[in-house]
Point group: C2
Chain length 226, copies 2
Amino acid sequence: MLESKTHEVTVDIVIFTIRKKKLEVLLIQRGQEPYKDKWAIPGGFVRLSENLDEAAKRVLYEKTHVKDVYLEQLYTFGDPYRYPNARVITVSYFALIRSDDLKLESEQGLNIQQINWHSIYSLPELAFDHKDILSVAIRRLRERLEYTPIAHQLLPKKFTLTQLQKTYEVILNTDLDKRNFRKKMISLGILNEYEEFTKASSKRPARLYDFNEETISSQSGFVADN
Amino acid sequence: MLESKTHEVTVDIVIFTIRKKKLEVLLIQRGQEPYKDKWAIPGGFVRLSENLDEAAKRVLYEKTHVKDVYLEQLYTFGDPYRYPNARVITVSYFALIRSDDLKLESEQGLNIQQINWHSIYSLPELAFDHKDILSVAIRRLRERLEYTPIAHQLLPKKFTLTQLQKTYEVILNTDLDKRNFRKKMISLGILNEYEEFTKASSKRPARLYDFNEETISSQSGFVADN
DNA sequence: GCAAAAGTGTTCAATGTACACCCATGC
DNA sequence: GCATGGGTGTACATTGAACACTTTTGC
């Protein structure tokens, strides 16, 4: 029934970004069987010489050419039938990137048919058990957002409180109260406030902030980042 | 440097209990190299025919002869050098059992040298990266305790609020206020109150409670339990 | 002067924390 | 009657939620 005699181990990486005011995930359309033409979370085999975080980092780089991003291990999927005709155990990760850091499509080269962002609310049919992986990823992302400053991974170095709030709203898929949100963020003491302002677009300039350093570095309980 | 050409996949299971008013973990003393005589978390290879939860359940059963316990996947460790001369990727789990469900030592048979409970505060030297696995497990256990009724896995079917509180205190390694603890637990609405009382040991009898069914079954977000 | 987004405080409810005494039983 | 653990309530501080108007700018 199973053709392979060994376990193969892959990493699959759920790559999130915010684009067009939506939470989107990067998917690749498969060029061959199984699940030809279905969309899949980017992944690849773990090499014998690398650890899991390194494998995830490498695969992420191969697919997106971005480095230095938030990467966190999620969960390991190993149902014997998740992958037809082989025993493939996959260690899933999630990553956050700024979508404009990524020069998609263009230099992606040859045999990848399609690589594209998809809103998490209108997903195509996914290959394998990737729907499960994605739902674990979304849950974890939202959890992290509440307790850690990961939002900084999706924002420019300096940002306005409104930008920050929009990021939270998009990820959590709710509206937040402006005053309460600002009060909360400021009281957390994780932001630096600058005397710089957006120079404007026909409205009142907004003050710029960033996350302070200690906050960012302490965020990584189980993060492979560097 | 690495002898193996393939990944081997194991599950390692951090098995907790409360014994002698301490949080303890089940360890096995290794009989051969590598790490001969060092203590290790129980584990075993994942068979091609079984999924990860099943593998964990099986290994747990083989080592302890207990079934129907709380089991939750923790994290996957895959450093190429974590296991000498082989590439062994391990999916870690944690489990909770009532220590008196386990008839240790006796019928454990032949070639296991030693299997024993160890307080998490006075651990022997551990093999491999098992210290890391254990610290992830402890963190996760404490997290779960705050949000889910896993404590019922460590208690008799019916228990007193004092027993419940002691369980929390031992796991969290803090003292809790009796009145606040009771108020909190009762206000959560997850307990059933009985008209039964401990018949006593020279003090006032205590009322018995249990966790209500829905609570217990909904606890398993990512639990392999049955 | 007006459109558009930035910025700001108070009230109320809910939740968490600190804390000390009486109760029921077995001996 | 006393030792042992069981059981209970109140006051205060902290946190989260609801809510509307003024400010600054570019045009």
